[in-house]
């Protein structure tokens, strides 16, 4: 152990020279030449076992979703799998009263999250980044919902929305017969009620991401701007916000993924009954519901997959391109 840690110390001059330019590509070659047979096997296992597990359970099942979407299957024996072409999709798009509302709700989910809690999280982060006292106390309060599970958040807000005993109706006097406002049951209200709970959590999450981004902003930029006579808003708009670009990208991706993944909250609230249908809920109800149709459920999953990939692929391509350059 001691020899191993001492050596790099003595050769510390080398790493600074090699990483720039084309040198790093050659380093692994040198590494490799020294490997024994046993090392190669060890390496193969180290990379192979996790990859197999991940690929088998995540990617092969995703591919299976695509394949099954073009079939019907009752789940009993493989011979009952029948190819039906695009029938599942045709039925989904034209003959499922829940599909288009679900798509619409997923879109609304994203739009609400990106327009309300996200800018609010940014606003909080900018305020908390001012080196004020109690900053950590405030942060803890705003971030608390992010630590709790969506399921528990669902229960908490269910209690708040309860028509009889809930906080809101009790406060506004709508908890008496004849005056009930059914926040969770009313299909015109329930999506918005759920979104309040989702936003409550999302704002804290965004605040933390932006706080981390703001920490990376060069303080001299801010000073230069204020020396130039810019006020706080001008400094933020012209100097700070543009440098937050990498954070903004992550925030956008995280928000889209959150909107596509939205599930727990709605499931706890009302199992995605009328008014709160989501694509994720439709897929799940198709499994645990009574009429389990594997091909049909897979077709909904494929729609979800396609939307996700439209977001994931460009994001990862740009991320990894940057990394390659780095």
């Amino acid at each position: 152990m001691s020899t191993e840690t001492k050596n790099p110390e003595t050769r510390k001059a080398a790493p600074l020279a090699s990483p720039s330019g084309a040198a790093p590509r050659k380093v692994p070659q040198g590494h490799r030449r020294l490997l024994t047979r046993r090392d190669r096997i060890t390496l193969g296992l180290m990379a192979g076992v996790p990859t197999i597990l991940h690929v088998a359970l995540v990617w092969l099942t995703a591919l299976a979703s695509i394949a099954l979407a073009f079939t019907t299957w009752d789940g009993i024996g493989f011979d009952s799998i029948k190819w039906v072409g695009v029938d599942n999709f045709r039925e989904l798009l034209t003959n499922n009263p829940q599909f288009w509302p679900a798509v619409q709700h997923n879109v609304i989910w994203f739009v609400v999250l990106i327009l309300l809690p996200t800018p609010f999280g940014l606003f909080l982060a900018v305020q908390l980044d001012k080196k004020i006292r109690f900053s950590r106390v405030y942060q803890t309060a705003f971030f608390l919902p992010v630590v709790m599970s969506m399921a528990v958040i669902g229960f908490v807000w269910q209690l708040i929305y309860n028509p009889d005993t809930g906080l809101i109706n009790s406060l506004i006097g709508a908890n008496e017969p004849g005056h009930y406002i059914d926040w969770i049951g009313d299909p015109d209200l329930n999506l918005w009620a759920v979104l309040v709970a989702a936003s409550w959590r999302h704002a804290g999450y965004m605040m933390i991401l932006y706080l981390a981004g703001l920490k990376g902003v060069d303080p001299s930029l801010r000073e230069a701007s204020s020396l130039d006579g810019a006020n706080e808003w001008q400094t933020f708009k012209n100097v700070i916000f543009p440098t937050l670009r990498p954070t903004n990208t992550i925030v956008l991706v995280v928000t889209i993924i959150e909107a596509l993944r939205a599930f727990d909250l709605v499931f706890v609230f009302n199992k995605g009954a009328q008014g709160t249908e989501l694509l994720s809920i439709l897929v799940t109800n198709n499994i645990i519901g009574e009429s389990s149709r594997i091909g049909y459920g897979s077709a909904i999953a494929v729609v979800l997959l396609l939307i996700s990939l439209v977001v994931i692929i460009p994001y990862l391509v740009s991320t990894f391109r940057k990394e390659r350059r780095a």
């Binding site: 076992v49 996790p50 597990l53 001012k130 608390l144 709790m148 706890v268 499994i287």
Partner: protein, 292 residues
Amino acid sequence: MSTLALRDRPIRPARVLLHLFLAGTALAWLAPLLWVFYAALRPYSETSAKGYVSWPDKLGLDNFTNAFQQSDMLHYFGNTLLIAVPAVLLTLFLSSMVAFYVSRFDFRLNLALLLVFTAGNLLPQQVIITPLYRLYLLIDLPGVTASGKLYDSALGLVLIHVAFQSGFCAFVLANYMRMLPHELTEAALVDGASVWRMYWQIVLPLCRPAMAALATLLSIWIYNDFFWAIVLISTGENMPITSALNNLSGQYFTDPNLIAAGALLTAIPTLIVYFVLQRQFVSGLTLGANKG
């Protein structure tokens, strides 16, 4: 620093206003939880007579003890422990090995492999659930799990957690390991150390801060998981606590105050971890995000 301090002093009223705003908002943010806590402290008979927005006659922890005992919560906490501990350890172990490999050895495979892992982690879980559910039903494990299948077993949940979360962890750890000087392992290799020793005795100990952050994050995520268990576990008895709450609230808890207590009890472990390891949690969350 000095210019900041100078600028702070003259605009004191603005600071006071900011504090008022932040304190008010923070309180509003905690209000839902505080109200639920307040309801949980009161007996049902009192709240049903006086209404929920009223001064208390009697406050106590009865609802908490009742919720805990009536529904045998300890059993479900145990289930969660049985799933979360192996899942966190295994995820860190496997993803650190992948990260070690891609950051130290194969630069061509590096990107492809990381791409696969990261993209997998970003997929909505529902994309893969239908075939996964079928797969779990198909895999027979007589004698290994109580159900005789991967379905309805803790093992099944551990596996999917590991497979899913290792994407994020591999990405974060690979970035972290790449910052360690290459000469560290090169020198060890020249000295004749085996690859395994390089990983276990040199690289891994240096990754302790990142591993601690990820462990905190993973524990909370896995503890909070609701979806996998709802679909992949059929026996109510086998559910981890977060998913069990869904059944418990219907079966055992009849009054809202009891549900409030049960929900808060479920949240307590995550809150403890958060308060004790806040720094780790936040740094873990931003570790992955800061790159990019």
